[in-house]
Symmetry: C2
Subunit: 232 residues, 2 copies
Amino acid sequence: MRVEIWSDVVCPWCYIGKRQFEKALAGFEHRDQVEVVHRSFQLDPSFPPGETVDVADMLAAKYGMPREQAVEMNRQMEKRAATVGLEYRLEGGRAGNTSDAHRLIHLAAKHGLQDETVEALFKAHFTDRRSVFDHDSLTEIAGEAGLDAATARETLSSTAFTAEVEADQREARDLGATGVPFFVIDRRYGISGAQPPEAFTEALTRAWTDAHPTLTTIGTPSETCTDETCTP
Amino acid sequence: MRVEIWSDVVCPWCYIGKRQFEKALAGFEHRDQVEVVHRSFQLDPSFPPGETVDVADMLAAKYGMPREQAVEMNRQMEKRAATVGLEYRLEGGRAGNTSDAHRLIHLAAKHGLQDETVEALFKAHFTDRRSVFDHDSLTEIAGEAGLDAATARETLSSTAFTAEVEADQREARDLGATGVPFFVIDRRYGISGAQPPEAFTEALTRAWTDAHPTLTTIGTPSETCTDETCTP
């Protein structure tokens, strides 16, 4: 079975959803036969590369609210994250273009380090308040995830995996996703959002049953030979 | 999609069923994406190798009927075969152990000539009244199906593919088959007997739909980010 997870590095529900999914997977009987693939989804692909903004400022501007209210919204998110065991430290957090981070995740997939890299990027952004936008910081995070730092830097300096990032994004839209996290199991079941582990367990169980069907009989058995004295 | 067809070389309903299936397949929109695999089923694996008996004598003995009645049953089968465009000439037909014929079919699969060989064996047995039991005749039939005659003879002289023939037989029983022909589509749909083309069409269509599912949504979408101003 194959679980594809579309997420963005700066999406707070994605990190939380990843934990919810992982909890369901850990309790799933056939977890050894489940392959997890991370896919790219940019919440704002048009964000000018190289620039960043303060998340609370952005929230305040978008909703026309006092900055203090935006900060309070972030505090609520920190509390929600804590319920799944994640430490979010959102004050002073910045938003930016995540294309480079996603290209790094595609590089990591080639080296069997995709999950480690996704995890390192989430932690860097939401817990450690490190940049997931500039190449120096991304190279460092990649190194900590186990990737060769020189290879990571070379990839970031090039346009490698740009097409893959865009293809992932298109595929999510084609599958009907309008936001992330978006989980797809065997291209058969879709789960939108950081739903409770029970939803993931249900999807995993249904997909498993589908993948291991019992034979459905079509029509009425007739005109069959059961031994060599087969007669009309 | 993968269609597996269990049959025995001496099973009159199998050749007829093959034609019914082929008629359905020819009219199936996605026929180019259907792979057909023939599998072995021996109606009487305990039949002494090297020996053969007259089919009408066997029928008469089994059912305690006059030989003439058994001959008449064969005539009915010839008429039934004619309705699907097959010429059966059953008078004087003989039964025997079909293990060698099945081993030949497995050899043919390795050379991409499986269907040709199954077809040649059916025609030899039911239409041309040639032996599908002795090695000389089997080698000749294999050659006509496009196989290298020397390779065929060598295979027949050895015990090659005996395990494969037995494994096919076990697998059919595991899937619930008690007779042949037995058709299985994507290990999802089973069809017993020489059913009308409509039954095969239904099975092909349902299997196709299963193999190309639309996404089923699990749970209620929640806690999703749709842009970078993602809020709790």
